[in-house]
Amino acid sequence: MLITCPYCGPRDVIEFTYQGDGNRERPDPASQNFEAWNAYVYDRLNPAGDHNEIWQHSGGCRAHLRVVRNTLTHEISSVAFVRGDHASAARRKAEGQS
């Protein structure tokens, strides 16, 4: 499986660390809403189909990526930096992609 890191280009899955369900929302740090905390820590969307998930390119630029990947076919339909302010660092199309 290849993930196209916006910075590094397509790389083998071995370079990435899976950080799971990207739909989870961390409650406000001071929040006392334990339902929300529990949901954030323990409950996962586990769809058979497109899945919004977080990967870290730990064996590369170490950026975290938001990936939409189909769990039935492993097809990846989008990859973006989790940090919006990294968008400008994305590899330009014109460059040779490895």
Binding site: M1, H64, T73
Partner: protein
């Protein structure tokens, strides 16, 4: 007469003689021979024994799909079992032996299994061997008794335990077009793609490129097909953008067009060149893939079809045309399709007598009749072979009139004298890789075969283009046209190419008659290696194992080393007939990697013998030179003790710890994780990450910190040093350095992107030495310049910068041992230099080096926690670290740490233990209130770490015990039935030694 070498012909080099042995007998062959062809040329027909009945077996095929002729190749003590003789290229000194036979291949006592006959039907073992319900053999015992013998009878070759001296390597490759298969289709595809300028890899599992062109005896562009192959390969060889990989089996098709291939680099050589691997594992990332993998011929299922001498028709054609070997003198053929007629002609040309062609079809085309005439073969149209005769070799066959619609046999059987029977049951495209890629095969009723699906139905992440026999286009004319189209398409090319090469081939229609089995008396084999018969398939049907997967699993059909390459479709067909359903409704097998068996060495590749890199501290060589016994800690090596001659480990660490507490000791702490936390929000970030405050920490000071996981459990601890207003140096435990780094990065990237903080691993930047003990400060004072190290300049948790022996150092006064202690950090490249300077400075003060054991001893005496206590299940409260949980701010884990399960009163809490019987305690012992040696029960906790404490003169331990703190001052017992260590202990505070910390505060 028996099989023999032809006088001329073949792609072997008759001038080169090669010597090898098989079962201890010396043979010769020629360069270009396989073990199969070389032995066959010498008249050998018995190659192996089948799995279950140990029936004698000969060659069925000439290629990778061979189920019968499995051998073990020996290289010294190293064994390579279960290799098809058809895939072994002979070389001088090759030693091969047969397998799964005792005492010899010709006389095998396990052949007696055949006498079991119908009792040993499919799945019989599920119905018996259960044994008595009561008595000494109840439960699993009777089965295990029987199993003992079953296991010894089962199995094919033997593996060895000697380490393979060979080298294995991996190669990561990238290309625009990967072409799998180098027959006419693959060659055309590779050439077309290469002409477009694409980066092309062409792989073929055979040593010779050309596929069927090597044995089809066709002509292309007016020259023998082999010449056309040679010319085309030569053109490709000369190009920078083409890589040719012969002897390379593409065995796996993974996500996003990642394909795995095995190149047998030096198996065919007597000795590999220096540094040359035995196998190279290619991990290929291809933009597009052309599958030109050809097709496998199918056997026909009829009684006696497994006798040595019965072989696939094209295999015989290959032996004759490619290897110059005749598999027999008097050859008969049995077919349901036209392709066998070409074989008949080829064998006739090569010098054999073709005595009969039995064809299940009542009507034969004029072309086939003319080919039969050319072969001088008697035609038996509308006939079938119903028996074979002979012992371990074929002596004759019986043919009988056969109605292919009803399957009825009529009339008298006629015996025909023959020493070789060739069969052809039609062809199955080699769709394995496409199937692995996710494609579901489609049944084609005309071809009587599963074909790869149309491209539109492919999985989105795996895009391939098919060509040639792989797609069901069995003629060379089609292969060449499809190959070029595929190559062009794969390279994204357009334009009108030149005219296609012109092929002259023997005529023949591609569609076989839909006949798979001749039902007559006797064992008719479907899966040759596993001895699955047509009756076994019908038994599976009777017992309800009718889906294709149940059929496979119940009968083991298709589970042998050939993975059903030849047996799959006949098995399905027989089941379909039993069910009265069309074949596709029985199901299709989804093929999984590997296409053909893959050496495990190749998959480990460069990590064979080198599983993990060694991580070394800057002072590593010094430790080794000074007698340290090394301890493997994750990937690191750390000194465990610096033992003196004749010392036990315990004597060494007691000496080291005692000396440290009496004078001073020094330990390498370079392995601690170190993370630079920099930026304007660094302090705020640390406040969120640690349970305690760091924003209040003054520049030039350090603080001990604790981290929790999001779920509120303890995660890691360490000191963090504030080097500047926006510049922190965090230390972590050695084991958790990587995890903590990822934890921090995750929160900065995903949760708090607004924080301006950078984190960088600087573990390797710094060498660290911890020097502690009553004399530690004096030692530092003796060697540090540029700063004072007295109490005023360097208070507890203070940091100073100075120099040691001309090298800048950073010193923090903190203590793990409980002594007055300092951590001295310097650039890693200066680590040994500073270390030696400290050792030198310490000599007058009795400084000792100490290792992990003494470190552990002193930390147990102090009651500090490490990974043995922060084990992922304990909370800060369990470890009496609740004083570190700030109430002034939220932090990671703060919302979750007070849940019911984390504050329960019966949780395990950290305590100290003192052995009251003065005997050593064992790590992993449990704690009980009452000893019951015979029936241990009632565990209330366990020991996490233990040692002999030189400071206390006692055997002590840290332990996690239920409601621990409330038990201080009470007695309990260690219960260690594993090592029969039981005895009384006193439960005490985990702070054994100097609980007030007077020593470290000085």
């Amino acid at each position: 007469m028996s099989p023999r070498r032809t006088d001329t012909g073949g792609r072997i080099d008759r001038l080169k003689t090669i010597r090898f042995t098989f079962d201890g007998v010396a043979y010769t062959g020629h360069a270009g021979d396989t073990l199969a062809s070389a032995l066959l040329a010498k008249g050998v027909t018995l190659f192996g024994r089948s799995f279950k009945y140990h029936r004698p077996r000969g060659l069925l095929t000439a290629g990778v799909e061979e189920p019968n002729a499995l051998v073990t190749v020996l290289k010294g003590e190293v064994r390579e079992p279960n290799i098809p003789a058809t895939m072994v290229e002979i070389h001088d000194g090759l030693v091969a032996i047969s397998q799964n036979r005792f005492p010899s291949l010709a006389w095998d006592i396990h052949a007696a299994n055949q006498l079991g006959g119908k009792i040993l039907s499919a799945g019989f073992y599920y119905k018996t061997f259960m044994g008595p319900v009561i008595g000494p053999l109840k439960g699993t015992r009777f089965w295990m008794f029987c199993e003992h013998f079953i296991r010894r009878a089962a199995g094919l070759g033997s593996a060895g335990s000697a380490k393979d001296p060979a080298r294995y390597e991996r190669m990561n490759a990238f290309c625009d077009v990967l072409v799998v298969g180098s027959g006419p289709a693959g060659l055309m595809a590779a050439k077309a793609a290469a002409d477009q300028g694409a980066r092309v890899i062409l792989a073929d599992l055979e040593p010779r490129f050309g596929g069927s062109a090597n044995w089809s005896d066709e002509t292309i562009d007016g020259t023998p097909a082999t010449d056309w192959v040679r010319r085309t390969v030569a053109q490709l060889e000369g190009r920078d953008n083409v890589r040719l990989l012969p002897r390379t089996t593409v065995w796996g098709y993974y996500d996003n067009n990642t394909l795995a291939a095995l190149e047998r680099v030096s198996d065919h050589k007597e000795q590999p060149a220096k540094g040359e691997p035995r196998h190279r594992y290619w991990a290929i990332r291809a933009r597009s893939v052309v599958l030109a993998t050809g097709a496998f011929e199918r056997p026909l299922v009829f009684p006696g079809n497994d006798r040595p001498g019965v072989m696939l028709a094209h295999a015989a054609e290959r032996y004759a045309n490619e290897f110059g070997v005749l598999p027999g003198d008097r050859i008969a053929l049995f077919t349901n399709n036209d392709s066998a007629y070409r074989a008949a002609v080829a064998l006739k040309k090569a010098g054999a007598a073709v005595v009969a062609i039995a064809d299940v079809r009542p009507e034969l085309s004029a072309e086939m009749r003319s080919l039969a005439t050319e072969a001088e073969a008697e035609i038996f149209a509308g006939h079938a072979v119903v028996a074979t005769e002979g012992g371990k070799t074929l002596s004759g066959i019986k043919v009988q009139r056969f109605d292919m619609v009803t399957g009825a046999l009529t009339g008298d059987a006629r015996s025909i004298h023959a020493d070789c029977l060739l069969m052809s049951g039609g062809w199955s495209p080699t769709i394995h890789l496409a199937s692995q890629a996710g494609a579901k095969a489609e049944w084609d009723a005309a071809r009587q075969a599963f074909l790869p699906p149309k491209p539109t139905q492919q999985w989105p992440t795996q895009q391939w283009i098919g060509a040639g026999a792989f797609t069901g286009s069995f003629s060379t004319v089609e292969a060449i046209a499809e190959g070029r189209a595929a190559g062009l398409a794969a390279a994204g090319g357009t334009g009108t190419p030149a005219a296609l090469p012109i092929v002259e081939a023997v005529p023949g229609e591609p569609d076989p008659a839909p006949v798979f089995e001749i039902r007559a008396k006797g064992k008719s084999f479907v899966d040759f290696q596993h001895d699955v018969t047509a009756e076994d398939v019908r038994l599976a049907h009777r017992e309800g194992f009718v889906s294709v997967e149940h059929l496979k699993r119940y009968t083991t059909l298709g589970m042998a080393t050939d993975q059903g390459k030849s047996s799959n479709v006949p098995g399905l067909a027989i089941m379909a007939e039993a069910l009265g359903k069309p074949i596709p409704e029985v199901g299709t097998t989804r093929f999984r990697p590997p296409f053909a068996p893959v050496s495990i060495g190749s998959l480990a590749a460069e990590r064979f013998g080198d599983l993990k890199p060694e991580r070394l501290t800057p002072m590593h060589d010094w430790h080794v030179d000074h007698g340290a016994t090394l301890y493997s800690a994750g990937l690191w090596y750390r000194p465990m003790i610096y033992g003196h001659a004749g010392e036990t480990v315990e004597q060494a660490y007691v000496r080291e710890a005692r000396a440290t507490r009496e004078s001073a000791g020094i330990v390498d702490v370079s392995t601690l994780g170190k993370i630079a936390v920099q930026g304007p929000d660094a302090a705020a970030f640390l406040d969120r990450v640690y349970t305690n405050m760091f924003s209040t920490l003054a520049v030039g000071k350090a603080r001990y910190g604790l981290m929790l996981r999001e779920d509120g459990f303890a995660f890691d601890d360490g000191t963090t040093w504030r080097l500047g207003e926006q510049d922190f140096l965090m230390t972590t435990t050695t084991a958790n350095a990587g995890k903590v780094m990822q934890h921090l990065e995750y929160f900065l990237d995903v949760i708090w992107p607004e924080l301006k903080v950078h984190v960088t691993s600087v573990t390797d930047e710094w060498a660290g030495a911890a020097i502690g003990g009553p004399k530690a400060r004096q030692i530092l004072a003796a060697c540090v310049t540029g700063t004072s190290v007295d109490n005023a300049a360097l208070p507890f948790m203070g940091i100073v910068h100075g120099e040691i022996a001309g090298v800048p150092v950073m010193i923090c006064r903190l203590s793990f041992s409980g002594e007055m202690a300092f951590e001295v950090y310097c650039g890693a490249g200066h680590g040994t230099h500073v270390w030696e300077a400290l050792i030198e400075a310490g000599k007058p003060f009795g400084l000792v080096t100490y290792g992990l054991e003494a470190l552990g001893t002193m930390r147990i005496e102090k009651g500090h926690v490490t990974g043995a206590e922060i084990d992922g299940r304990t909370t800060a409260r369990d470890l009496h670290l609740d004083w570190m949980l700030s109430k002034k701010k939220p932090f990671i884990g703060s919302a979750m740490m007070d849940r019911e399960g984390l504050v329960a009163s019966d949780r395990l809490e950290l305590v100290g233990l003192i052995a009251l019987d003065n005997r050593p305690l064992n790590g992993g012992s449990h704690i009980v209130e009452e000893i019951d040696e015979a029936n241990p029960h009632g565990s209330i906790g366990h020991i996490t770490a233990c040692c002999y404490s030189p400071a206390l003169g006692k055997h002590i331990a840290l332990a996690l015990v239920k409601g621990g703190k409330a038990r201080h001052g009470t007695r309990a017992h260690v219960s260690d039935p594993l090592r029969s260590r039981f005895g009384p202990v006193e439960i005490v505070s985990n702070h054994f030694y100097d609980p007030e910390g007077t020593r470290m505060h000085g």
